[in-house]
């Protein structure tokens, strides 16, 4: 990995700053206890669920996969949102932003570096979570659909990219990380629950209200695409690779848009001693 980073930075010197900042974020995440606590919680609760005897049948596995994946999703959202919400306000609060921005680091590089660090850190967390999930499901089903799990994990990671970019945008707008995290959590859960159905709601409304709802439907990021738990739990097989790639590109575009907005807002902010 370090050789590939060197290759990128040799061709694009500005990327070095981004990777350096990202590295610090990743170090922070694995030195804090949050991730380990959540992983332990997921493991303990899943094992408790697995220990429940149901009609003397130890081949029942889907409820276990369901519970484990739900815990993984909740934990990953907590990690992503709290980590990202904390980045810029904590730097300001602890005054570490001043010696950093006093170096040849642009505001854009700072924002992108924070995003990359949070996203890669969440990626590592997801690998750990999904590895555990794979072990649990394989222990009961005696099969391991690696490609399907890889697709699910990848889409999950792409979803977190959009979420992290959204939270970073929130962090340059709201001063308090707690309010940013709460608002983003509500928005993300609301989008995942309802955004896929807004068009049905819009159709039932008339006039301006219907148009407004439809506009919101097209504007918001469709995070529900990335939640493919039902396909994994019920062994539906692989997602069409073109659709998978399309979702990846969509996540990249949306994250870029949100990060661009965050950069524009942050660019205009004064960072005073």
């Amino acid at each position: 990995m370090s050789s590939s980073i060197s290759w990128v930075t040799s061709r694009n010197p500005d990327a070095g700053n981004v990777f350096a900042i990202a590295g610090v974020v990743i170090k922070e995440m694995y030195r804090r206890k949050d991730f380990y606590v959540l992983l332990a919680l997921v493991v303990v609760i899943t094992l408790m669920l697995a220990s429940v005897g149901i009609f003397n049948d130890d081949r029942i596995v889907r409820y276990l996969k369901d519970g484990c994946l739900l815990l993984i999703w909740l934990s990953s959202l907590v990690i992503a949102i709290t980590t990202a919400a904390r980045q810029i306000p904590a730097e300001r609060e602890s005054r570490t932003i001043f010696p950093l921005l006093a170096k040849p680091v642009g505001r854009g590089e700072f924002v992108v570096g924070k995003f990359l660090g949070c996203w890669v850190a969440c990626g590592f967390a997801l690998v750990a979570f999904y590895f555990f999930f794979g072990m649990v499901s394989a222990s009961r089903e005696h099969t391991l659909p690696l490609l399907a799990y890889f697709q699910a994990m990848w889409l999950h990671w792409m979803c977190l990219a959009i979420v992290i970019a959204l939270v970073l945008l929130g962090s340059v707008i709201f001063t308090a990380p707690s309010s940013n995290a709460t608002i983003c959590f509500i928005i993300v859960l609301g989008i995942m629950f309802a955004s896929g159905h807004l068009n049905s709601v819009a159709v039932q409304m008339h006039g301006f209200r219907g148009g407004l709802v439809y506009a919101i439907y097209y504007a918001i990021p469709h995070l529900e695409w990335y939640d493919v738990r039902e396909l994994i739990i019920h062994n539906w097989g692989l997602i069409d690779w073109l659709a998978w790639a399309g979702a990846t590109i969509y996540a990249g575009l949306y994250s870029g848009l949100l990060l661009g907005c965050a950069w524009l807002v942050f660019q205009r902010r004064t960072v005073t001693l």
Binding site: V24, S94, A102, P104
Partner: protein
């Protein structure tokens, strides 16, 4: 003589929170030059605009009018900060990193090649006497050690311009002496030092030139010896004279 820092008609206004006042003028038409190889003391009472001026030089704040350049590069460009080292007054660094990791991080920002990077880290850690504690996390450091980490990170890129904000604030006499020694050494190496301080005795000892800011305006600028001769008193009384203090 090369100009390292050039400030031209700098004006900085902040939005005021006071009733009946829309904006607060922090810096008003500041013109200043700092030449290569000199130690420049930037003085003024609290609220004079010293920190705002430094914020503009460091790119933290955008000026309302005027311009500022470091080594001929506009301060809005991140590359303007490639050859500077900055030591803030209150030194806080990532508590979850060790001193070595912190310096390595900043060295990467300056794009110092890896072999040179390790050599520089060793050099600055020995200079600030933190070699023994290099692998300990910063959260375990005392205040004095954190100050020294700050100095180390300001020197990691072997800067040509050092911007120091109250460098001896909070230090014991031994620490102050060491900082003065470092400033003196940098001056002998031909580096430029731009620092603000309230310790006029110190300023009088190390500085070549000083500028005194009051209510956003530069009231006086010149060599310490010239000012002392002009006002026929020590630097402290010159300062008090300029800011209009009458006992």
């Amino acid at each position: 003589m090369n100009t390292v820092v050039e400030i031209h008609d700098l004006r900085v206004e902040y939005r005021s929170r006071e009733l009946g006042q829309r904006t607060k003028l922090a810096v008003d038409g500041l013109n200043l030059k700092v030449n290569s190889g000199e130690v420049f003391g930037f003085l003024g009472p609290n609220g004079a605009g010293k920190t705002t001026t430094m914020n503009v030089l460091l790119g933290f704040v955008t000026a309302t009018a005027g311009s500022a350049a470091i080594f001929g590069v506009d301060v809005h460009q991140p590359i303007a900060r490639q050859r500077i080292g900055y030591l803030p007054e209150l030194t806080y660094y990532y508590k979850f990193l060790s001193a070595e990791e912190l310096l390595r991080f900043y060295a990467k920002i300056f794009r110092i090649p890896s072999a040179e990077r390790e050599r520089r880290i060793d050099t600055v850690l020995k200079l600030v006497e933190l070699d023994a504690a290099r692998k300990r996390l910063i959260k375990t450091y005392s205040k004095g050690m954190q100050q020294r980490v700050g100095l180390a990170q300001a020197l990691i890129n072997n800067p040509d311009l050092l911007i120091l904000d109250e460098p001896t604030s909070g230090l014991d006499p031994l620490g102050r002496m060491k900082v003065r020694g470092i400033i003196q050494r940098l001056k002998e190496e031909g580096k430029t030092v731009f620092f603000s301080s309230h310790e006029l005795g110190e300023v009088e000892t190390v500085c070549d030139r000083v500028g005194i800011l009051h209510e956003g305006k530069l009231r006086v600028e010149g060599r310490v010896s010239d000012l002392v001769q002009q006002y026929q008193c020590n630097l402290e009384n010159v300062f008090l004279n300029i800011v209009g203090y009458k006992p």
